[in-house]
């Protein structure tokens, strides 16, 4: 479970990127995080993972206060950042070993997960190559696999679907669904609204740092009193102001 209570963040004291955000992402559900460019999605996810400190407010992951017990919180999170261009000079396999060591994945699980996920994402062929030689989608996949290795209780993904080919994105959606089914928490940002519509149990919509909506898509339809697509409702909601 992810809990954000009255979280604020502004950059260099001027741009208010996240404005008094209170949001709960329950375990066992997939929650989509939607909003136009610059709405504050990445900023929020960065605060959840410890990359940015909020100016005020509190963040709890599975009941643990992030700023009190940062390491225990981070160990529970599987994070996929928006840019997969990291550790480019490591080979794929070296990166995976690095991640497994840092998240203390040992024993039989380690090798078994590396083999399973690299096979499923069709990355086994290139594990011996440097990440620098990977395509954008391949880089995303290696980062994704690295985040999967420790079987995280909480998933935080920043636009994980952009750049993936149809097969990989189908696979990722499968995994997300089955993980949520096992009681994990899944929170991801996306611009692909029909994916959100079909995949997510709930959506949170943010605009200019403020939360506009938080609930199921059915609830949103009730709110608009019409059987419209998520895309239409989204555009309408973020239109004014």
């Amino acid at each position: 479970m992810i809990e954000l209570v009255q979280v604020n963040k502004s950059y260099s004291g001027k741009v208010k990127a996240v404005d008094d955000l209170t949001l709960t992402v329950p375990a066992g559900e997939i929650v989509g995080f939607l909003g136009p460019n610059g709405a504050g999605k990445t900023t929020t996810l960065k605060m959840l993972t410890g990359i940015l400190n909020p100016d005020s407010g509190s963040i709890r992951i599975n009941g643990l206060e992030l700023h009190r017990e940062p390491i225990r919180v981070k160990e529970q999170i599987g994070f996929v950042p928006d840019s997969p261009d990291i550790f480019l000079r490591l080979k794929g396999i070296e990166y995976l070993r690095f991640m497994a060591d840092l998240y203390r994945v040992g024993g039989a699980e380690r090798r078994q997960r590396i083999e399973e996920y690299t096979a499923r994402f069709e990355m086994a062929e290139v594990l011996g190559n440097k990440i620098q030689s990977y395509s954008h989608g391949m880089r995303q996949k290696i980062v994704l696999i690295g985040a999967l290795l420790h079987d995280p209780a909480v998933w935080i993904l920043d636009e994980p679907l952009t750049g993936l080919d149809p097969k990989s994105s189908f696979l990722l959606k499968e995994i997300l669904r089955s993980e949520a089914g096992k009681g994990k928490t899944v929170f991801f940002s996306t611009h692909v609204l029909d994916v959100a519509e079909r995949l997510c149990d709930r959506v949170a919509i943010i605009h200019k740092g403020r939360l506009l909506f938080d609930g199921t898509i059915a609830a949103m339809r009730d709110h608009f009193k019409a059987d419209e697509s998520l895309e239409k409702m989204f555009l309408e909601m973020t239109e004014d102001e």
């Binding site: 995976l96 039989a108 190559n129 620098q132 030689s133």
Partner: protein
């Protein structure tokens, strides 16, 4: 022409340290810059003083021009040697190259803009050597306005020719890199090659100098009329004209020489334009390609991947891999640790045999172990202080710094991994240096062992201090790996601090060679205390400082 100017402006803007967020950060950076500038003053002052001291005796025999000759030649040489590395990095490794290539720009325009930026930075470098020389000379010779105008002209045009030569060399090297499949490896190799070339130049110069008989110097000296300057300036094309311009200040001949020098400079720029049009794209296109024959893992490698290790070990391994595989990091953080033994070997093998014998006897008989120890500590401070491995530890992360914030390793563990790697590199370099010296001077093994042990705190000091500096002044925004390790004030500052401490130790060793063990033991204890203090600070506050750096 307009596109060239526009491009130069953009490149300049993005290469000047980007504005740090927050006002607090900016004042911190400004203060640091000021401190670096102030810490350079002793060097500048020492140079000016030396020039001033030498002026009278030389002027008495009509040879004061040799000061300008040597000064200009050395300044040009420094620009040439560093220019090789600098131009390779700016022309080819900078990440902006990928963005510039698709734009409708001619090779000459990109090259021209990049050359201009490099040149501007060279003007800054010259502030250290050429500026104090020209000014001191002007004051001592009581020169008038026309001297200073000529000097300004020389100051602006002098670095052009060495830089053009360095650019041509860089382009020739890099145009071959486009056919090399392992680019990073080639570049690391090219860096080593550049270094060897630079050492080779030094070597050749020594040979040239050695070839001159002492009688030649005497004859030149007796001739007067600055004939010695004539000889010094042969080291670099065109320098002769520049020096002549400065020496004939009052007369029209001075201006004529400057005009000739400017024409020659123009000719070199023209050559660069022509060569650049033909060569630049050949090396630049495909610069980010990486060797990519698909390679799956075999069973043994897979089994290896299944073995788990600790966090610290994983971080250390990652640090070493990135250092060794990134050409700019390799050159400035790994290779620098090992150039000293090579340099010593060069100097010792190229010097006169009798001199070396003399030195050997001196070290063997007269010097006490205590003195040797103190000198060794000084050398360790100098050697370890030059390595940027620790002082760029955070800076090297650059745009991927955010990963260290979300990975579940305590910040202190991450700092420890960086310091361990830097310490091991410095230690390995210094041990190799000691090994070379031991063989050259036939030092007993016990002395070497004691020396290595006693210098451990001296090697640890720059590592700890460098980390402390970089945690406070990380340079995370760079478009070019080279900038993280070269235009990094933490590194410069560390060099100054560690260099001063090292020089002090060596000076003490020479000055108080009869004082017994007290100075050496004091130095060891003092360094141990300082190290302990630094470590305590890092252990206590390091994590908080790292946490405070915004990703």
């Amino acid at each position: 022409m307009n596109r060239y100017l526009a491009l130069s402006r953009i490149l300049l803007k993005s290469s000047i340290t980007p504005p740090a967020s927050g006002r607090h950060e900016r004042t911190k950076t400004a203060l640091l810059m000021l401190f670096v500038a102030v810490s350079m003053l002793p060097l500048v002052a020492a140079l000016a003083l030396t020039v001033s001291k030498l002026y009278d005796p030389l002027a008495a025999i009509g040879q004061q021009g040799v000061l300008l000759g040597f000064g200009c030649a050395i300044s040009g040489l420094i620009i040439f040697i560093f220019g090789i590395f600098y131009t390779i990095n700016v022309y080819y490794f900078a990440q902006d190259v990928e963005f510039l290539l698709p734009l409708p720009l001619k090779a000459g325009e990109i090259l021209g803009a990049k050359f201009t930026i490099t040149l501007l930075f060279e003007y800054l470098t010259q502030l250290l050597i050429l500026a104090p020389l020209l000014v001191t000379f002007g004051i001592r010779s009581g020169a008038g306005l026309s001297y200073y105008l000529l000097a300004a002209g020389v100051y602006l045009s002098l670095p052009v020719i060495p830089l053009v030569l360095a650019s041509l060399l860089a382009m020739a090297l890099m145009s071959y890199s486009s056919i090399a499949s392992h680019k990073d490896r080639f570049r690391i190799w090219a860096g080593g090659l550049g270094l060897i070339a630079a050492l080779g130049v030094q070597f050749a110069m020594q040979k040239v100098m050695a070839g001159r008989k002492p009688e030649d110097f005497v004859r030149l000296l007796q001739e007067g009329k600055n004939s010695l300057a004539d000889w010094a300036v042969q080291l670099f094309p065109g320098v002769r004209l520049a020096v002549k311009a400065l020496l004939q200040q009052g007369a029209a001949a001075g201006w004529l020489n400057l005009v000739l020098f400017l024409l020659l400079t123009g000719l070199f720029i023209l050559i660069l334009r022509l060569a650049g049009g033909a060569l630049y794209f050949r090396g630049a296109v495909g610069g980010s390609e990486s060797y990519a024959a698909h390679r799956a893992l075999n069973a043994a490698e897979m089994a290896e991947a299944g073995r788990s290790g600790g966090q610290l070990g994983a971080l250390i391994l990652k640090e070493i891999r990135l250092l060794v595989r990134t050409p700019a990091f390799f050159m400035n953080c790994v290779l620098v640790n090992f150039i000293w033994p090579v340099m010593i070997l060069f100097v010792m093998t190229s010097g006169e045999q009798e001199d070396i014998e003399g030195l050997r006897r001196l070290v063997g008989s007269n010097v006490s172990l205590a003195t040797l120890l103190l000198a060794g500590i000084g050398a360790a401070l100098l050697v370890a202080g030059v390595s940027g491995a620790s002082a760029s530890g955070i800076s090297r992360e650059g745009s991927q710094f955010f990963t260290s914030k979300y990975l579940p390793a305590p910040y202190l563990t991450q700092l420890k991994a960086k310091m361990t790697v830097a310490f091991l590199l410095a230690l390995a370099g210094f041990a190799l240096l000691l090994g070379v010296l031991a063989v050259l001077f036939q030092l007993p093994a016990a002395a070497i062992g004691l020396l290595l042990l006693a210098t451990l705190p001296a090697i640890a000091f720059p590592v700890l201090a460098g980390m402390l500096l970089d945690v406070h002044f990380p340079k995370l925004v760079w478009d070019n790996e080279y900038r993280a390790v070269k235009q990094n004030m933490s590194i410069v500052l560390l060099m100054v601090i560690s260099g001063l401490a090292g020089a002090a130790c060596i000076w003490m060793a020479l000055r108080y060679s009869a004082a017994g063990w007290t100075p050496a033991v004091t130095a060891v204890l003092l360094l141990m205390a300082v190290d302990a203090g630094l470590y305590f600070m890092l252990a206590k506050k390091g994590a908080d400082w790292l946490a405070a750096i915004s990703a």
